[in-house]
């Protein structure tokens, strides 16, 4: 993955008026590509660094233009997903002719300047609310040079900058290229037990843990916000043992504030549009929104261990 660092990422989406990804009103830049492979990934379209083809059936008006133009005969009403992924070579000719946007290319090639140009018009809203720009994904740290350039440009305009990360990055490069330009970092601590982390997220977590410790020292020194966050994934991360382990780890480091994120099942639908394998589809526990009780239970554990969970 390191070879991606110098590359330009594909941008999934630039979401304006976000109120959930840091303080104030923010624009969130979603990068495409992630070193982890969490089975519940709530942005499945952000895992693969390459462009993908999405098909959204309710939008389709069945005009047939895409079938006429497809050189690979990959589109058919007989195919249950409409797109035969095995045949599609991702030429994206169909997305050009699709009038309704049912067929869409996922992932835009953009320069850092182009990204910023889309974000800047909302600056007046950042300024009055204490908001700014949030880099999210996928994993922005996969693209250190690009992210660094974007952050430096954002800082020149006086934007508050926040990074959401899985913590799986090359620390020296991070400290060199990104850290100086960030005001705040939201840092995922998903599973404390490394084997389980590998099983559910694709990689062990030692690097994530080490990076967190190092970053904490720096952030304390520099007065930057480092907020650990744990998603409450039913049966995977939200067990009492895991939450206690996360809390114990944090309180051991003297951290007294952390966030718990309620589970959001909408990712199944996104997987379907992209034809991504979804082994958890149909699992009832994984199909409902996280309820308040589950969140409260998690928060109670945190409070008990001396951590303010309201993040």
């Amino acid at each position: 993955m390191a070879n991606l660092a110098a590359k330009r990422p594909l941008i999934l989406e630039i979401k304006g008026n976000s109120l959930d990804d840091g303080p104030g009103i923010r624009s969130v830049v979603f990068f495409k590509g992630c070193p982890l492979a969490c089975v519940w990934c709530h942005n499945p379209e952000s895992r693969n660094p390459a462009a993908e083809l999405a098909f959204d059936p309710p939008k389709c008006v069945d005009c047939g233009e895409c079938r006429k133009i497809c050189p690979d005969r990959a589109l058919s009403r007989n195919h249950p997903e409409y797109v035969a992924r095995s045949k599609c070579r991702l030429c994206f000719l169909c997305t050009d002719v699709c009038p309704s946007g049912a067929l869409e290319r996922v992932g835009r090639t953009m320069t850092a300047a182009e990204v910023l140009a889309e974000v800047l018009p909302d600056q007046p809203f950042f300024d009055v609310s204490g908001g700014g720009i949030t880099l999210s994904g996928g994993e922005p740290t996969l693209y250190m040079d690009f992210a660094s350039e974007l952050l430096r440009m954002a800082r020149r305009h006086g934007l508050h900058a926040l990074l959401e990360t899985c913590g799986c990055f090359d620390l020296p490069r991070f400290m060199d290229l990104l850290y100086p330009h960030l005001d705040a970092i939201y840092y995922d601590l998903k599973i404390m037990e490394s084997a389980a982390h590998k099983a559910f997220c694709g990689l062990p977590n030692e690097r994530i843990i080490d990076n967190f410790k190092a970053l904490l020292t720096a952030a304390r020194r520099d007065g930057k916000l480092l907020l650990p966050r744990t998603p409450l994934v039913p049966g995977i991360t939200d067990g009492e043992a895991n939450l206690r382990a996360v809390a114990a780890f944090l309180s051991g480091l003297g951290v007294n504030q952390a966030a718990l994120l309620a589970y959001n099942p909408l990712w199944h639908e996104k997987s379907r549009k992209l034809g991504i394998d979804d082994p958890l589809k149909g699992d009832p526990a994984m199909s409902a929104f996280g309820d308040g009780a589950r969140l409260e239970r998690g928060r109670a554990i945190y409070r008990e261990m001396g951590i303010d969970p309201t993040g």
Binding site: K15, G16, N17, L19, G24, I25, K59, V61, D62, C63, E65, P99, S100, G101, P121, D122, P124, F125, D127, V128, S129
Partner: protein
């Protein structure tokens, strides 16, 4: 030669049946007579093809049927086809008016006779009509127990309250300006009145027209009993004086304010000199109509039919124009509904009186000023002398009414058993003996004086958009004087509560009357009350921060009551007003769901720059009716003189001057789209401009004719006495007597037009994806079998509100066009026309009367409200806010209404919600936005309210510029609100 078609024969037979009933049945026959004699007239029926032609002749108590229509008949209906005719015979009168609106038929002649015929039809078919209405009401779940619903509504409100971060410099007495520890439960009196407001079915009150008609019958209308022509301004003054002197002086039990607009708990005021006869046809069915039904007592029906309406059949604004201007095309256009609605057929209200002078000088002081002026006016200045005399007569009338109220208060005190109430009544008697004649000394006197004058205003002028103005500014001196007289802190605490309660009583007094809305009005301006705008905050005439104690007291009352009227508007000056104030405005908006509307003070004033008003007058502006700026106390700006459908001009440009729904080649031939007349976008834009010009020429002409009708039928010497100008100029305000004059339009459909033009520009001219002719073909087919094209338009054309520069440029071009066209015109009072971009609820009504558009909007769908971007223009509210803020205020000199839904996240995140909304408001103002109003409610809640209206009696929503209770809206409007863009906050 006419063929005796089957339809013609059937029509003939039906009319014969009608005639026989009225000729033979005594009970019906008596209705052919008024107290002044038989109601003689001819009423024709025809289809456009001539396949049916019949006339009813009413003469000396007999009805006959003729097979030809005389030229001209007194009134006539021309039906689009035989089907429309058949429907008209069996539908209830409200449906008939809707069919008229939809251009399934066209009227000719005096519309009053059409209403009279409707009344006769409903006399004959009443049981069937009522059964149909009741079925409709049940189908829409509009029938439920109002008492229970009112209790549910009041009990269901939970208000969350922040604490202020700082105290504004103008706040001298409130230690917590947000008054966060006060709630409705602290004011049992207000709670009870609120219940009455929510549960009471309004009733039509005939007191005003009965007294006036009586006076005019005795003293003549056109000429006096000696046969000399009346001077209109003096005639109206004497009639007003008679009305006020004889009006029943009523004081509601427990109220702190004396006087009522009508004799009913909630009364519908009738103005037969305006549009009052429009309810004639519905008198028997109005209690049963599904939307906003009215009670009508048999005595009221008898008085209106036999004594009142016949007298006014030809004495109203519309008919004056028809008689005196030769039934001009502009009038015909208005009566076809699809392109415009001219409010002067109803009212010339929409202004703000000079209350500071009234409160400080009293009507006695004003009379002294008039007397001084009169003494210096030479006899040859006849108009001035007459106007000044008329003003005096009116002021004496209002003083007589106040005196009668004092007597009534004394009487009530004498029979009152509760000691506390007896004291209140004795105080009311004292107050009414002093004011409004003398200068006010206390807040109680000022509020009572204001209310008594307000009653007078609505006895003289139609209750449509007359507004109260900057009450926080004008009442603060009296509040301050009262507070300073108090000895200690605890007395002051008690007094602050009293001030809240008193202002609460004033709000609820303002709900004691409703405008007359014939059922067609439920479709044109559904759920609208009088739109009595109050304006808060902003800057003083000297340009300093105007926020004071009373500002926050008004906001507290607004929040606690959560009622639709008064319509609260807040001025926010980002340099002078505090964040504490802005945050409170946003919190009240969150708690009431839809009010106040927030105005960017600097931009509103910038929009009026071209008038060159003196700065201290400009800074004293107030919102009128919905949102429109009026220079308080100095200005007749009839800011809602017309609802103007700009989209009609677009449809005419697409069809070479022909309007499709009206089936009328009205405009100039600006080019045949199908024949390839347009080679580039600009030439089509020019065609649109030519059509818009034509429509504006016609509507301004009609407005001016109607203005002349007001001068003849209903000059307004009472308000002339209370506005700056007439005293010096010696002219009634209807004749340009006010210091400043203008007329304001509401130009409707900006977003729809911009998006349609963007589709044409992008797909036809820039990217050449489709020919203009093919696009028009798809539009004419309502996009049936053009799904791919429709999808392409929806996904590939950037819209107004998306942040796209071209779309924004077109929106600015359209507003400039409309502004410049109206600015060319001069009104009958010598003032300019202004252009506003708000819509009341006419974006829904005009939408139903408009075909599909190149933007992909389908036929009959509502336009967006005001100038709000289309719901799918952007996923982010910020793009909407930025685009609207980037409109050049120089073209928006009658203000705008920008309205979206925001939905707080579930849970206790009140502070975050308020802070987010306040951030939107601040940034929007920083970017140059002029006005915004948010609905803090989700589509899901609105859907639930459609299904279970009994749980949502007080669910208040912003339509476009005004508030309404969601459950009182027609289905199309409810759906339009649900389909509006919705953005999460917090």
């Amino acid at each position: 030669m006419r063929r005796w078609t089957i339809s013609n024969t059937l029509t003939h037979l039906f009319l014969r049946f009608f005639a026989a009933n009225f000729n033979l049945r005594k009970k019906l026959n008596q209705y052919l007579k008024s107290e002044d004699g038989w109601l003689d007239f001819t009423f024709g029926l025809r289809t456009e093809t001539g396949s049916v032609e019949q006339t009813l002749v009413f003469e000396s108590g007999r009805v006959r049927v003729r097979a030809t229509v005389p030229d001209p008949p007194d009134a006539m209906l021309i039906f689009k086809d035989e089907q429309a005719l058949k429907a008209a015979a069996i539908e209830p009168p409200n449906q008939l008016m809707i069919a008229l609106m939809q251009n399934k038929m066209v009227t000719r002649g005096n519309i009053g006779y059409l209403q009279l015929i409707n009344f006769y039809l409903s006399l004959l078919l009443k049981p069937m009509q009522i059964a149909k209405l009741q079925k409709e009401a049940r189908g829409e779940r509009r029938a439920y127990d109002p008492e229970k619903a009112a209790q549910t509504a009041i009990g269901g409100r939970r208000l969350r309250q922040l604490k202020p971060a700082a105290i504004d410099p103008g706040v001298h007495f409130l230690r917590d300006p947000y008054l966060s520890d006060l709630g409705l439960d602290d004011f049992p009196r207000l709670k009870e009145f609120l219940g009455v407001h929510l549960k009471t079915k309004p009733a039509i009150c005939h007191e005003r027209p009965a007294l006036l008609t009586q006076w005019f019958k005795e003293n003549g209308f056109e000429t006096d009993p000696d046969g000399r022509p009346h001077v209109p301004v003096l005639r109206q003054a004497r009639a007003f004086n008679y009305l006020m002197t004889h009006k029943k002086p009523l004081i509601r039990a427990k109220d702190l304010i004396a006087g009522t607009t009508t004799t009913q708990e909630i009364g519908v005021v009738l103005y037969p000199d305006a549009h009052g006869t429009m309810i004639w046809g519905e008198l028997l069915t109005a209690p049963f109509r599904p939307l906003n039904p009215y009670d009508v007592s048999p005595q009221t029906v008898a008085a209106l039919h036999h004594q009142i309406f016949p007298f006014w059949l030809k004495r109203n604004f519309r008919e004056w124009v028809r008689q005196n201007k030769g039934y001009p095309t502009c009038q015909e256009l208005d009566e076809r509904f699809a392109a415009c609605f001219l409010w002067k057929t109803v009212a010339l209200s929409h202004t703000i009186l000079d209350y500071p002078r009234l409160l400080a000088r009293g009507t006695g002081g004003i009379r002294a000023d008039i007397a001084r002026e009169l003494a210096q006016t030479p006899p040859n200045m006849q108009e001035k002398r007459e106007t000044l005399q008329a003003m005096t007569i009116c002021l004496e009338g209002i003083e007589a009414y106040a005196w009668n109220l004092a007597t009534e208060a004394d009487r009530l005190a004498g029979v009152e058993s509760d000691a506390a109430r007896r004291t209140e009544l004795m105080q009311l008697a004292q107050i009414c003996r002093r004011v409004p004649a003398s200068p006010c000394a206390t807040l109680d006197e000022a509020v009572n004086a204001l209310w008594i004058v307000w009653i007078g205003v609505h006895m003289e002028n139609t209750n449509a958009g007359f507004s109260l103005g900057r009450l926080d500014q004008w009442l603060q001196p009296y509040f301050k004087a009262d507070m300073e007289r108090l000895a200690n802190e605890s007395e002051r605490e008690v007094y602050i509560r009293h001030a809240v309660e008193l202002i609460g009583c004033l709000y609820l007094r303002c709900t004691d009357h409703l405008p007359l809305i014939p059922d067609i009005g439920n479709h044109l301006f559904g759920g609208s009350s009088s739109d009595q705008a109050i304006t808060l905050g902003g800057v003083t005439p000297q340009g300093e921060d105007a926020v004071n104690d009373m500002t926050y007291i008004f906001l507290k009352v607004t929040e606690m009551l959560g009622i639709r009227d008064p319509n609260v508007n807040a001025r926010y000056h980002k340099e002078k007003n505090s964040r504490t104030y802005l945050q409170r405005l946003c919190e009240v908006n969150v708690n009431t769901l839809s009010t106040p509307s927030i105005h960017n003070d600097e931009r509103v004033m910038a929009s009026l720059a071209e008038f060159d008003y003196p700065a201290e007058h400009l800074r004293d502006w107030s919102a009128t009716g919905c949102v429109e700026p009026t220079l308080s106390g100095r200005h007749i700006g009839h800011t809602n003189c017309m609802m103007f459908n700009m989209v009609a001009a677009l449809e005419m440009a697409l069809n070479n001057g022909r309007h499709p729904l009206m089936r009328w080649q009205l405009g100039p031939a600006t080019g045949d789209v199908a024949a390839g007349a347009f080679k580039e976008f600009d030439s089509f834009f020019d065609a649109f401009g030519h059509q818009l010009q034509l429509l504006a020429d016609l509507t301004c002409q009609y407005n001016n004719y109607l203005g002349e009708a007001h001068q003849a039928i209903r000059p307004t010497p009472f308000i002339s006495a209370l506005i700056q100008g007439p005293l010096d100029k010696g002219r009634d305000v209807t004749r340009g007597g006010a210091l400043y004059n203008s007329s304001g339009t509401a130009c409707i459909g900006l977003a729809d037009i911009t998006d349609a033009l963007m589709a044409i520009k992008t797909l036809v001219f820039d990217e050449k994806k489709i020919s203009f002719a093919a696009l028009l073909e798809a539009v004419n087919a309502n996009f049936a079998d053009h799904a791919a094209l429709l999808a392409m338009i929806k996904t590939k054309v950037p819209l107004f509100g998306s942040g796209d520069r071209q779309a924004l440029a077109i929106a600015n071009r359209v507003t400039k066009l409309a502004h410049d066209i109206f600015w060319q015109h001069t009104n009958y009072r010598g003032g300019r026309y202004t252009a506003g971009f708000w819509s009341m609820s006419n974006h829904v009504a005009f939408g139903t009367l408009t075909g599909a558009l190149p933007s992909g909007r389908l036929a009959g769908k509502a336009f967006t409200p005001g100038l709000t971007p289309e719901a799918h223009a952007s996923k982010s509210i910020l793009s909407n806010l930025r685009d609207v803020a980037a409109l050049d205020p120089a073209h928006l000199n009658n203000n705008i209404a920008f309205n979206v839904k925001v939905v707080p996240a579930a849970g206790e995140r009140h502070q975050q919600t308020v802070e987010t909304i306040a951030a939107y408001a601040r940034a929007y103002c920083d970017l140059g936005g002029m006005q915004m109003q948010l609905n803090v409610v989700s589509s899901d809640t609105l859907r639930d309210a459609m299904a279970h209206p009994e749980n949502y009696q007080n669910l208040m929503v912003r339509i476009s510029g005004y508030n309404a209770y969601f459950v009182t809206l027609n289905r199309n409007m409810q759906i339009e609100l649900i389909e509006r863009a919705q953005f999460g906050v917090g």
